[in-house]
């Protein structure tokens, strides 16, 4: 279980997070939606303890996590908005290295790396990671987050640039991990991808969680002001959009 309680964070004079509360049970896939600059990545970084909140608390499996906490990390897998890799290594070498960083035994690591490479379609990539496409780099990041069989996954835009087939395979994998008790927190701009994947959807707006509901609850709530039902996607779009008076066309196009 992951519990985020009353998190505040400001960058200089801009208050980005103004008291975010979120609880994610084991086996649940939680989505965080929000416009650009809403604070999703900031929240992810705080949950990953690579950024310190101004106030608030983070609990993982009922253990309070601070920047001094250490032992919980072997349970966590992370994918950040910017793919992480070592540029002059091949995918095999990088995944092997990450596996060793997590202390995986030598006998196990080779098999896991090969399996991950085949799963993500990277087994024929002998070139350095820096030369791979954006989508393939994202896949390498995702593979690195899964190699140590984490109990909790925190994913910030994991499907950025990833091809349709790999997205489908990955969402099926995430679903099977959740069924085995893995807690997953995911942010994505691709609503259509995560709509079928996630159990709960939270909208981050103005530094707070506006709602945190299941898909069926959203379907019930998704109505125009005059009461006509609309799609969940349109409903979320309406709630996200602050600038409703902005034009929908460009004058020279």
């Amino acid at each position: 279980m992951i519990s985020i309680s009353n998190i505040h964070k400001a960058y200089k004079s801009t208050q980005v997070l103004k008291g975010v509360d979120l609880g994610i049970n084991s086996g649940c896939i939680q989505a965080i939606l929000g416009a650009n600059g809403a604070g999703k990545s900031t929240l992810i970084k705080i949950a990953a303890c690579i950024l310190e909140a101004d106030s608030g608390e983070l609990f993982i499996d009922n253990e309070k996590i601070t920047i001094d906490s250490y032992s919980y990390r072997e349970k966590m897998g992370y994918v950040f908005e910017q793919p992480m890799y070592i540029d002059k290594l091949t995918p095999y070498e990088y995944l092997y290295f990450v596996g060793k960083m997590y202390g995986i035994e030598k006998q196990t690591i080779g098999n896991r790396v090969n399996e991950l490479l085949v799963f993500f379609g990277l087994h024929e990539s002998d070139c350095y990671i820096e030369r791979l496409s954006k989508g393939m780099k994202s896949k390498v990041s995702l593979a690195a987050a899964l190699i140590h069989n984490p109990k909790h996954l925190i994913l910030d835009e994991p499907f950025d640039g990833v091809d349709f087939l790999s997205v489908q395979k990955t969402t099926r994998l995430l679903r099977s991990l959740a069924e085995k008790g893995c807690t997953i927190l995911i942010t994505s701009h691709q609503y259509d991808v995560i709509a079928d994947l996630c159990d709960r959807f939270a909208l981050l707006k103005d530094g707070k969680i506006l709602f945190n509901q299941t898909l069926s609850d959203l379907e019930t709530a998704a109505k125009e002001p005059n009461g006509n039902p609309i799609s969940v996607k349109q409903y979320i779009e309406t709630l996200m959009d602050d600038n409703t008076s902005s034009p929908n066309e460009l004058s020279w196009v």
Binding site: Y11, K12, K45, A48, C49, I50, L51, E52, I67, D68, Y70, S71, R73, E74, M76, Y78, F80, M84, I86, D87, K88, L89, E93, Y96, F97, V98, K100, M101, Y102, G103, Y128, H148
Partner: protein
């Protein structure tokens, strides 16, 4: 892990930045004074900012479960290999071209290794020190560089004094395992990466 790190350092041409050890080694043989350790003062950041000089994302180190002793041992060993490579290449050339004495060169090599081990010890502790929490970058940089340079200068002075004695080779041979022990015990004592407190509070 070490092999993969070395591969990366070759491919990124990182190892070429330590070529100064080759020239220092040649100068040392020519002047017959143990001055090659001075080259370590040309690369202080490699030692006192170990986590950032690893060519591995500091975030990757942060989020993994790797012990600080393990990651620093990797860093130290890779630098030891490259510095020793360039140093011995210089010595090899000196032996053939300058026809220097083997015992003198052996003394110089052992002295260089002692200085390397001390540099690693000092660097590992500085990398995990609260000096990184100093607010102003210039003050931080100055303090770290001075601390590192002081340690190295102190040892270099001892080595220069030893080199004036008759049994200098025996003395330095006995000192080498002492420095190794100090380096090793220093590594084992590191339980957490204090640098991350600095990173996390400044990652804005």
């Amino acid at each position: 892990m070490l092999l993969i790190l070395l591969k990366h350092q070759i491919r990124s041409v990182f190892f070429m930045t330590l070529v100064t050890a080759f020239f220092a080694s040649l100068a040392e043989s020519y002047l017959t004074i143990a001055i090659a350790p001075l080259v370590l003062m040309l690369h202080p950041k490699l030692f006192y900012n170990a986590y950032s000089s690893m060519l591995i994302s500091i975030i990757q180190i942060r989020i993994s479960n790797i012990k600080p002793s393990k990651i620093l041992a990797l860093h130290n060993l890779s630098l030891l290999i490259w510095f020793t490579f360039w140093y011995l290449l210089g010595k090899l050339l000196a032996l053939f071209v300058l026809h220097t004495s083997l015992s003198t060169e052996l003394f110089h090599y052992l002295a260089f290794t002692c200085c390397l081990l001390l540099s690693f010890t000092a660097g590992n502790h500085l990398s995990n020190s609260d000096l990184f929490t100093y607010k102003f970058p210039f003050v931080r940089l100055l303090t770290l560089t001075l601390a590192f340079t002081f340690c190295l200068t102190f040892l270099l002075s001892i080595i220069l004094i030893i080199s004036a004695y008759h049994h200098k080779l025996l003395t330095i041979t006995l000192l080498l395992p002492v420095f190794f022990g100090i380096w090793y015990s220093g590594l084992r004592r590191l339980k957490e990466i204090t640098y991350f407190k600095f990173l996390v509070r400044n990652n804005d």
